[in-house]
């Protein structure tokens, strides 16, 4: 059995405001193994971002236990590059916060910029490069800290559809290549099926685990775009769609 990287046991979280108490998460349990990509899908407002914040240690759960085996890297919905910093300064941000900027880490970051096609845009400002490139810069900013576990919170949803397909494909290969573990929150059922080894479906708020799906797609080229053509794709889609129980 692979090493367990994230272990959630009966995790619950309540938000408190003067207007009352919001039960965001209730009794959520699942494990994430090393090298695994786990998708988290659920209706909007059900508590997905809250769950990631708990795993990242930004929020303390009201109940249950969370074990995280390694460093966590977080990618948010928009790239949140700082517009007053150029790309190089942006990707160094995390290292700067941790006082870890040195020759080694700079070389590492420059290697990443080089590998992912941003080397010549090092001194550009975020508003001078395309949305796809910005997302890649945001990924490098996270990878610069060498996290073991990547948390992606709707990381591609601000991009247009074509860019989104291309970038999610690219990010997937990058993360698989460097053998990261990932938890991917998304609204997009197809994206989850294409990118993940397992999908956790959450219920309406308060989020409880409705079901967990193991995804096995038969495809020649193991990449999210290639695997969208797999014969099992539709089945998974319909199954998850039914469980989400969307009413408009």
């Amino acid at each position: 059995m692979d090493k367990v990287m994230v272990e959630l046991k009966n995790v619950s979280l309540n938000y408190h405001t003067v207007n009352g108490e919001t039960e965001a998460i209730k009794n959520v349990s699942f494990n994430v193994h090393e090298g695994e990509f786990v998708g988290v899908i659920g209706p909007s407002g059900c508590g997905k971002s809250t769950l990631l914040s708990i795993i990242a240690g930004l929020l303390k759960p009201s109940g249950g236990s969370v074990k995280v085996n390694g460093e966590v890297g977080y990618m948010l919905q928009r790239d949140h590059l700082f517009e007053w910093r150029n790309i190089m300064q942006n990707v160094l941000l995390g290292l700067e916060i941790q006082n870890a900027v040195n020759d080694d880490s700079i070389r590492h970051v420059e290697g990443l910029l080089d590998r992912y096609g941003l080397a010549e845009f090092k001194y550009h400002y975020p508003n001078q490069i395309s949305g796809g490139m910005r997302q890649r810069a945001a990924l490098i900013r996270t990878l610069a800290l060498n996290p073991d576990i990547m948390l992606l919170d709707e990381a591609f949803s601000a991009l247009d559809y074509q860019t989104r397909l291309a970038i999610s494909d690219e990010v997937w290969s990058i993360l698989k290549n460097v053998k990261k573990t990932a938890i991917i929150v998304t609204h997009d059922i197809s994206e989850a099926i294409a990118m993940c080894d397992r999908i956790v479906v959450l219920s309406n708020r308060p989020a409880v685990v409705k079901s967990i799906h193991e995804i096995h797609l038969t495809c020649d080229t193991p990449s999210p775009i290639g695997c969208r053509k797999a014969p099992e794709f539709r089945e998974y889609f319909n199954e998850i769609w039914k469980e989400l129980d969307v009413h408009v």
Partner: protein, 269 residues
């Protein structure tokens, strides 16, 4: 950003020419209006359509300015007002930024300060003038304090609002890196608020002029505000008009300087 001179299409060159022509037309019209205004003023005075004794006249203003600068007194007045304004402005900006940072840092302090800020903001600051004079005598101190009083509260309120409006997710991002509150302030809140700070500074500059001139009206032995009041009292409208003219030129120059500095600082836009 892009090299457009080398291979520009004819259509694009036409377009650029049109833009340029329009720009020139705007500038020319602006200059013509200015010249026409002073020319009409001068002519109306000469033809006795208006009474130069009440309305003054460009030529008389010029004579007044030359006379006042001969003994150097004009420059003293300008310098007094300018230095008071700059000191009031600098104090307002620095103290304003410092207090806004404190209020951002402590939500308790911010909540406590809220009603006081609202009351102080609504209060017509000129009402405090006599108090400042009693406390500080009739030197430059009450005048500078007046400039400070008028600009400080607005600065604090607009900066604090600006700080609070910085994207929550940017702060969340820094927290995922393990940032301390001080790092969040210096790496994100302050740089993200530079446009807010610059616009507060521009407003501040304008308010400091208002404060200082008001202060000089109340109590002063020198300064443009003093000249204006003095000229009014002895019915020398030439002095009044000349001082107002100099004041508007100074204020405009200050503003242009600030816009220039802003462009230098915000290079990412």
């Amino acid at each position: 950003m892009y090299d457009t001179t080398s291979n520009m299409s004819k259509e694009h060159m036409e377009f650029l020419k049109k833009v340029k022509r329009k720009e020139i037309a705007i500038r020319t019209t602006q200059v013509i209006i200015l010249i026409a205004f002073f020319a009409l003023w001068e002519i109306a005075g000469r033809l006795k359509l208006i009474d130069p004794f009440l309305f003054s006249q460009p030529s008389r203003m010029l004579k007044t300015i030359i006379n006042l600068s001969k003994d150097g007194s004009l420059f003293t007045h300008i310098w007094v007002t300018l230095s008071e304004t700059l000191i009031g402005f600098a104090l307002g900006t620095i103290i304003g930024i410092a207090i806004a940072i404190m209020l951002w840092w402590s939500s308790f302090a911010s909540k406590v300060a809220e009603p006081y800020l609202i009351v102080l903001n609504s209060l017509p600051k000129i009402a405090l003038g006599p108090i400042f004079i009693v406390w500080m005598g009739n030197g430059e101190a009450p005048i500078i304090t007046m400039g400070l009083a008028i600009s400080l509260i607005v600065t604090i309120i607009s900066l604090e609002t600006g700080f609070m409006q910085v994207d929550e997710d940017k702060i969340k991002l820094l927290k995922t890196f393990g940032a301390t509150k001080y790092q969040i302030l210096t790496k994100c809140i302050l740089p993200a608020s530079i446009p807010t700070i610059m616009s507060a500074i521009k407003i501040n500059m304008g308010l400091s002029w208002v404060g200082v001139i008001t202060g000089e009206f109340l109590v002063s032995k020198a300064g443009l505000g003093y000249l204006i009041v003095y000229g009014g009292q002895i019915f020398k409208l030439d002095i009044v008009m000349s001082s107002v003219l100099i004041l508007s030129v100074l204020a405009a120059l200050m503003y242009v300087l600030l816009v220039y500095i802003e462009k230098k600082i915000i290079k990412w836009q």
